[in-house]
Subunit: 491 residues, 2 copies
């Protein structure tokens, strides 16, 4: 069927979509979400797109193409194209097989990842895959294959170093910005660490958000490679390296239900490590009240990481850490960046410093470095790590003179009584920081003056909320009024 | 955040979608598929819509609204609206619960159906529900509750008759157009049958497609009620009665994987019966080679229908029938309509006639009619059923003089040898008919000259393919050449 192209000036952000008039669709026996082959006339260029059917907005004889579809086909409004029904991509059978509870083969997983990368699956189909992974699970073998396939078909940094160390934290603990301290320590100790980090989705800040206070983090492949080759380290936003990866498409449809199928999660984490060529990886699993996992669940996950590492030929060490209260004083990009700089300068919050030293030491030990703890303390105390950090910041394109933005407004919360801090609620702290404007407002957030078991007096400041607009601060105040005895519990 | 409305002249066919610029979305911490509340300025009117995020096609400070969203909010391009992040609808927790394998309560199912009907769920979220229903299943109690809730919150025909009979066939057998014979028999026998039927999705024709050869089938609520009150029967397209029902939204996302979660299927069928007020229902489950179900699976489904009917206070009779070959000679809307008229006029294919008499008899028995078989034969032989059919056709708006369209081209396939017909392949017959142009080309299809166990001679015509354009006929010929020894197997 020959149709005239109408341009819908809109991006779908991935899937190729073509809109047909109801009657035209009927003539070809097409239903919404079916596929068509669209061919340019007098050209061999053709693409497969998902059909959307409309009774409004498109006339018979016309075909509406969204930005990506138009671009991929290389046509403009007004030209004619030929369309015909196309068959489903092979991964549909793979998805069906997972929904039916079967174990997938390497070939089947390859078909799936390839179709995801090349935008051959609609959002609905991708959702069925995530639902299958969630309800029927993945074996470790499947997760290992998925990891390898994602790297093979996707992004590889291509460093030649024999040893590349890496770290990952499961997250869920406000503050806890150890990565930005560990990376310069490792690089200053002469090892290589190509760290790719995420931005916040629901937390007050991700490492990429915090690093962005000091330097650009959206670097392309070549630039990242050069930064690591020059300095031995980097801290960049992982999605800028493979914006069209299979993982990014899965994340989009996982979001509405916050679904985290463990088999996919494991593969996603390990693929990011394998993509940068990591050989020695430390995984931090914070557990406890207010953390993502209980001690028991953390231990089960630990075993899976270790087995998966073995299958993938990577040396993995997993540490279970206390995730029951924030780590560091700052919560929010600028406040956390300040903590990081202070620790590297020899000061800063003791808990953040101690955890960073511990992880850096474990990483060096894992990579076979002798007297690891002494090495870590040396590069930290001599400021070698601090200077390495400045070097990395500049290599990524950051300014020579660091300027950390400060919020216009603040509001301090005092203890209503004397006593001991019994509990600090991670989730309420995170929520309060987001209400104050994190992560997009870099200078917003919370500064915590206390930790669990601190003895305090009535009237002592427990924490301060920072915001850049009065309305945000007001919302934060209201939230504190409703919840503050639960945010920091004094007993 | 105040934004200026841009009209995207396009319908999504349901879900309310608003497109935001990437940067604006970030400012509010919104991700794709999140929800926002959109409020008209100087008005209390507001709606909740799903967010789509675009880097192309929408400028900062603007919000793109699709047809439905614009209409529901009652605004025009250029006006300003105020938006803020909105929370997820309550049914998200219900969907999560099903994915986790739990049984849903009546209240939870009500929340879900209500959100489906009112377009509060995105396609991705709806897909998670279908995937949950498929992988974790429904108890009969859940299916019964879902049936009742769908009717309560959705469409009800509102007839006052004490006894309303109905029938349903699980499908999968080409031809098999018994409904159009049974409805006039039942109505001529003095009972009431308000039959709502489907169009074809993947078959050569649905009952609504075949009836449409003779009369309009897209009737509104009031019209259907009047037709049934006047004539005692009707044969209409079910989706024209509740185009925005929860079921229609589930069907859309079930289509890409052809997913048929049995718990949803049962509720969907029973809700359609309950919506027309059916009290006595016969379910036909064709089984065997080439049918949808095996004998064993058919029997399991039979038990579920009977239990479900009991829970819903309906008298159900389930028959397991031979579905291993087509029933009737015509396959395709016009050819099937011809078979139906011939049977009602006292002639026509013997198998179609026998099955229709059997089902009509069982239905009358179920409704307590004495000497049911004699009643059926009487109204059939006296042409009372035929005249009732003409009456129903006219009441629905059909022409007085029926014109059945004929195809321009045909191609007869002869037996390559003498012998006995061993098998007729339902699925290949269905595929061939669709290649020839069914269901949209009403006159296209297949006319079968033989049935299983018929003795035939070399050169006898096995079947004839009808098409309205030479290219279609050519495709059909090629398909026959590739498959014809499997379409009708002569041994």
């Amino acid at each position: 069927m020959k149709l005239e192209v109408k341009h819908f000036d809109l991006s779908t952000g991935g899937p190729l979509v073509a809109v047909l008039d109801d009657e035209d669709a009927k003539k070809l026996g097409l239903m919404a979400l079916d596929r068509i082959r669209i061919r340019r006339l007098r050209s061999k260029k053709e693409i497969i797109a998902n059909v959307d059917i409309s009774t409004e907005g498109i006339k018979p004889g016309k075909i509406g193409l969204f930005f990506e579809t138009l671009q991929r086909l290389g046509v403009q409004e007004g030209v004619h194209v030929d369309i015909e029904p196309a068959s489903r991509p092979r991964s549909i059978d793979v998805i069906m097989k997972k929904l039916d509870g079967h174990i997938l083969t390497r070939e089947e997983l390859s078909i799936l990842v390839d179709d995801l990368i090349h935008d051959r699956l609609s959002e609905v189909e991708t959702t069925y895959f995530v639902a299958g992974a969630y309800t029927k699970g993945f074996t470790l073998e499947e997760s290992a294959m998925l990891t390898e396939i994602s790297v093979d078909l996707g992004f590889k940094l291509g460093l030649k170093n024999k040893i590349i160390v890496d770290k990952h934290c499961i997250g869920g603990v406000p503050g806890n910005r150890t990565t930005m301290i560990i990376v310069p320590i490792i690089a200053a100790a002469g090892l290589t660490i190509a760290k790719t980090s995420s931005r916040s989705i629901t937390s007050p800040a991700g490492t990429a958000d915090v690093m962005e206070v000091l330097a650009p983090v959206s670097l392309n492949h070549e630039k990242v490679k050069r930064v690591v080759q020059e300095t031995g380290g980097c801290i960049v936003w992982q999605s800028s390296l493979s914006p069209h990866g299979a993982d990014e498409k899965l994340i989009k449809v996982r979001h509405p239900l916050s679904l985290d199928p463990q088999g996919l999660l494991l593969a996603s984490i390990m693929a990011k490590k394998k993509a940068v060529g990591a050989t020695h990886v430390l995984i931090d699993i914070p557990v406890g009240e207010g953390a993502k996992l209980t001690y028991r669940a953390g231990n089960m996950l630990k075993k899976k990481f270790i087995s998966l590492g073995r299958k993938l030929g990577m040396k993995i060490k997993v540490i279970i850490t206390d995730g029951s209260q924030p780590i560091g004083s700052g919560i929010g990009p600028a406040l956390e960046a300040r903590d990081v700089l202070e620790v590297l300068e020899g000061d800063g919050p003791e808990d953040l410093r101690a955890k960073s030293i511990f992880i850096a030491t474990e990483l060096l030990k894992l990579a076979g470095v002798k007297k690891a703890k002494q090495v870590v303390l040396d590069v930290l105390n001599s400021k070698a790590a601090y200077h390495k950090f400045l070097e990395i910041i500049r290599a990524q394109g950051g300014r020579k003179h660091l300027i950390i933005p400060e919020a216009k407004y603040f509001y301090s919360v005092e203890s209503p009584k004397s006593g001991v801090v019994k509990h600090i609620a991670n989730k309420l702290i995170a929520k309060l920081a987001r209400i104050a404007g994190t992560p997009d407002d870099k200078s917003a957030g919370i500064y915590l003056n206390v930790r669990r078991n601190n003895h305090i007096h009535k009237g002592d400041v427990l924490f301060t909320v920072y915001a850049n607009n009065a309305k945000r601060l007001d919302y934060a105040k209201q939230f504190v009024k409703r919840h503050h005895k639960k945010v920091v519990v004094v007993g």
